[in-house]
Symmetry: C2
Subunit: 179 residues, 2 copies
């Protein structure tokens, strides 16, 4: 990677959302719960047997994830003992992160593709490796990247241009569920 920045201080500050993300989803078991939920698990006892987690911890995590807006909790109509946990859009939007982490494990830990294989339901072919893309969809490696300050994102001294790019970036960030 190109020399990124001499001044690292702004990374420590509140500018980066990684610490915030980790606070919500970085706890032990959260990703496992998420994976089960993505696979259609929705009831307490099913999470319990699917993942090897303790009852009290599961109860605690589900409560927190509901509080964080990642899941919803709804008592079932037909059987009022049961509760249905479902992923919100916010929760579903963690799928790329989860897949990226899983693919990393395939490459560097297990060495084999996880089975079953995640596929495009249109042509039933495996999805590609999750990667970073340039604006024009070129795949980017680490050395192709640099960090640029938001204020500096205007290439010339053209104010409108900078705003365009920031706005565009914001739209990009928010495009996941809207399709």
């Amino acid at each position: 990677m190109e020399k990124i920045r001499e001044d690292l201080s702004s990374l420590a500050g509140g500018e980066c959302s990684l610490p915030v993300s980790l606070e919500v989803i970085g706890e032990r078991w959260c990703f496992m719960i998420l994976r089960a939920a993505l696979n259609g698990v929705g009831h307490f006892e099913d999470f319990l047997s699917e993942i090897g987690i303790a009852r009290n911890i599961l109860a605690n995590r589900l409560t927190r994830m509901v509080e964080a807006g990642i899941m919803t909790r709804r008592p079932c109509d037909h059987d009022k003992r049961k509760v249905e946990y479902r992923l919100t859009d916010k929760g579903q939007d963690l799928l790329p992160t989860m897949i990226a982490l899983r693919q990393w494990g395939e490459r560097w830990e297990t060495g084999v593709p996880s089975n079953p294989i995640l596929c495009d339901s249109r042509d039933r072919k495996p999805i590609r490796k999750i990667s970073m893309r340039a604006h024009d969809d070129r795949v980017l490696e680490m050395d192709d990247l640099c960090w640029i300050d938001e204020a500096e994102l205007k290439p010339a001294s053209d104010g409108a241009n900078r705003d365009d790019m920031v706005v565009r970036h914001l739209r990009e960030i928010g495009e996941s569920t809207a399709a």
Copy 2:
């Protein structure tokens, strides 16, 4: 998402690499250490002041990450008190996961793009949102996905075809650093 599978049992088994990944990189602070390392931090005291982590925990995590092959540890030549921690290729390959998590936080937690913004150094424009791609690069949403058993990946009864696709998938998974 299309109904994925009725039989969830194989998820619990050793087939999915997510639990393995989490064992290596899922502990508290690991991603923060990784982020610092990606930004060029390489010395113990710098990690310490960059992240708000305790000395003993940092020492523990760095040891584990070195053991896991995510980082290397090398005493410096010019000042033998100092130690240089560097990311391996395996460590660098966690970048897409980290970026995906950060983008999720931007969208759902902070609501604003993190500053500085990660850009393509060729055209200095922000990178795209990390997303899942079909084989032909179409962006896939959750509903476009399905899990298919490896054995089932041959669409017709053509053995060579199936092998092609698995091999291709393996190549995909391993294409990150090799470019």
